[in-house]
C-alpha cells in the first residue's frame, strides 16, 4: 500500500535525485521533493512538512554533515530521520555520520533492495509505518 509520508531527497547530482525519487515511488513513497544542497534543503525543511530526509554528504554550499548538524539544532526538525546515501566510504565518515545523528548510512552504488531495507529499519525504529 502506498504511503503518505513525505520525503526530501538532497543531492548535488540531478541524476541521483531522480534515481532516488523514482526508487521511492517504486517502493511506495510517491510524495517527495528534492534539493541540490544543504542550504536549499534546510530552507525547504523549515518551510514545509517532511517526514524523512535522504541526503548525500559531499555537496557544495552546505554538505550532508553540516545539514545534519543544522537539523539537530532546530527543535521541530531534530526528530526527523536522515538517511545518508553517499559515495563517501571512509570509516571515519560513516562513524561521524552516526555520531551526528544520521538514522542510517548507504554507500553508493546501492540497490533498490538496500534502500528499501534501510527505510523499513529506520521507520520501524522511529515508529513510522513503512509502505507495503
Amino acid at each position: 500500500m502506498a504511503s503518505a509520508l513525505r520525503f526530501l531527497v538532497v543531492d548535488d547530482f540531478s541524476t541521483m535525485r531522480r534515481i532516488v525519487r523514482n526508487l521511492l515511488k517504486e517502493i511506495g513513497y510517491a510524495d517527495s521533493e528534492e534539493a541540490e544542497d544543504g542550504v536549499v534543503a534546510l530552507q525547504k525543511l523549515q518551510g514545509g512538512q517532511f517526514d524523512f530526509v535522504i541526503s548525500d554528504i559531499n555537496m557544495p554550499n552546505m554538505n550532508g554533515f553540516q545539514l545534519l548538524g543544522e537539523i539537530q539544532k532546530i527543535d521541530k526538525l531534530k526528530r526527523l530521520p536522515v538517511l545518508m546515501v553517499t559515495a563517501e566510504a571512509r570509516k571515519e565518515d560513516i562513524v561521524l555520520a552516526a555520531q551526528k545523528g544520521a538514522a542510517g548510512f548507504i554507500v553508493k552504488p546501492f540497490t533498490k533492495a538496500t534502500l528499501e531495507d534501510k527505510l523499513n529499519l529506520i521507520m520501524t525504529k522511529y515508529g513510522m509505518k513503512p509502505a507495503t
Binding site: D12, F13, T15, I19, A87, R90, V95, V107, K108, K112
Partner: protein, 217 residues
C-alpha cells in the same frame, strides 16, 4: 668566436628551447582550463598526479559497466517483448479463425498471466537501467578531482617557468580567469577508487552495516 663561447651560446639556446617548450605546454593547459572556466582557483594539491591514472581508469570502468548493464537489460527486455508479440499474434489468429481451433478460457487466462509476468519483468529491467545511471554521480566526483589535478599541474608549470627563465627571457604568468566564480571543489574524499587492501574505507554496504553494528548504532 672561440670554442668555449660557442658551447656557452649553444647551451643558452638549448635552455631557451626548453623554456619555450615548457611555456607552450603551460599556455596550452592554461587555455584548456580557461575554456572550462577553472583557472587559478585550485591550490595545494601536489602529490596527487600518480592517482590520476587510477581515477581515469575508474571512470572508464564504471562507464563501461553501466553501458554493459544497460545493453544487457535492453537485450533481455527485447527478447521478452518478442515472445509476447509472437504469442499475441498466434492467439489473435486463432480467435479470428474461430471454430475448434479457438483458444479456451484456460489458454486466454494463461496468456494474460504471461503478459502480467512479462510486464513485471519489463519494469525490473527499467529499474536496473535507471540504477545503471548512478555512474554519473560517481564519475562526476572523480572527474572534478582530475580537473583540479590538471589545474594544479598548470600552477606548478607556471612556477617552474618562472624559476627556470633565463635572465634575458621575458616572462609573463597566465592572466587570471575572466570569470572569478569559484568552481565547486569537493572537500571530502568522494568515491573510493581502490578499496581493496585499504583498511580505512569500506568496500560495500555489508561493511558499512557491520561497522555501525559494531559501534552500537
Amino acid at each position: 668566436m672561440d670554442s668555449t663561447a660557442a658551447a656557452s651560446s649553444a647551451a643558452s639556446e638549448s635552455g631557451l628551447d626548453i623554456h619555450h617548450s615548457i611555456g607552450a605546454l603551460t599556455r596550452q593547459l592554461h587555455d584548456a582550463l580557461q575554456a572550462l572556466g577553472l583557472t587559478d582557483k585550485f591550490r595545494g594539491l601536489a602529490g596527487e598526479l600518480p592517482d590520476a591514472q587510477d581515477r581515469l581508469s575508474y571512470i572508464s570502468r564504471l562507464t563501461g559497466e553501466a553501458a554493459e548493464k544497460v545493453l544487457n537489460r535492453v537485450d533481455m527486455a527485447k527478447a521478452d517483448h518478442d515472445q509476447v508479440l509472437t504469442a499475441s499474434q498466434v492467439l489473435s489468429q486463432r480467435l479470428l479463425a474461430g471454430g475448434a481451433g479457438a483458444p479456451s478460457t484456460t489458454e486466454l487466462l494463461s496468456f494474460l498471466a504471461g503478459i502480467e509476468a512479462s510486464t513485471r519483468q519489463a519494469d525490473a529491467h527499467l529499474t536496473e537501467i535507471m540504477m545503471a545511471q548512478d555512474f554519473h554521480d560517481l564519475t562526476g566526483q572523480v572527474i572534478a578531482k582530475v580537473v583540479r589535478l590538471a589545474a594544479n599541474m598548470e600552477e606548478q608549470l607556471v612556477q617552474l617557468l618562472i624559476q627556470t627563465a633565463p635572465a634575458d627571457a621575458p616572462t609573463k604568468t597566465p592572466a587570471p580567469a575572466n570569470n572569478p566564480a569559484a568552481p565547486y571543489e569537493p572537500a571530502l574524499s568522494g568515491p573510493t577508487i581502490n578499496p581493496l587492501g585499504n583498511p580505512d574505507v569500506v568496500s560495500g554496504q555489508s561493511e558499512v552495516d557491520d561497522l555501525l553494528a559494531s559501534l552500537g548504532f
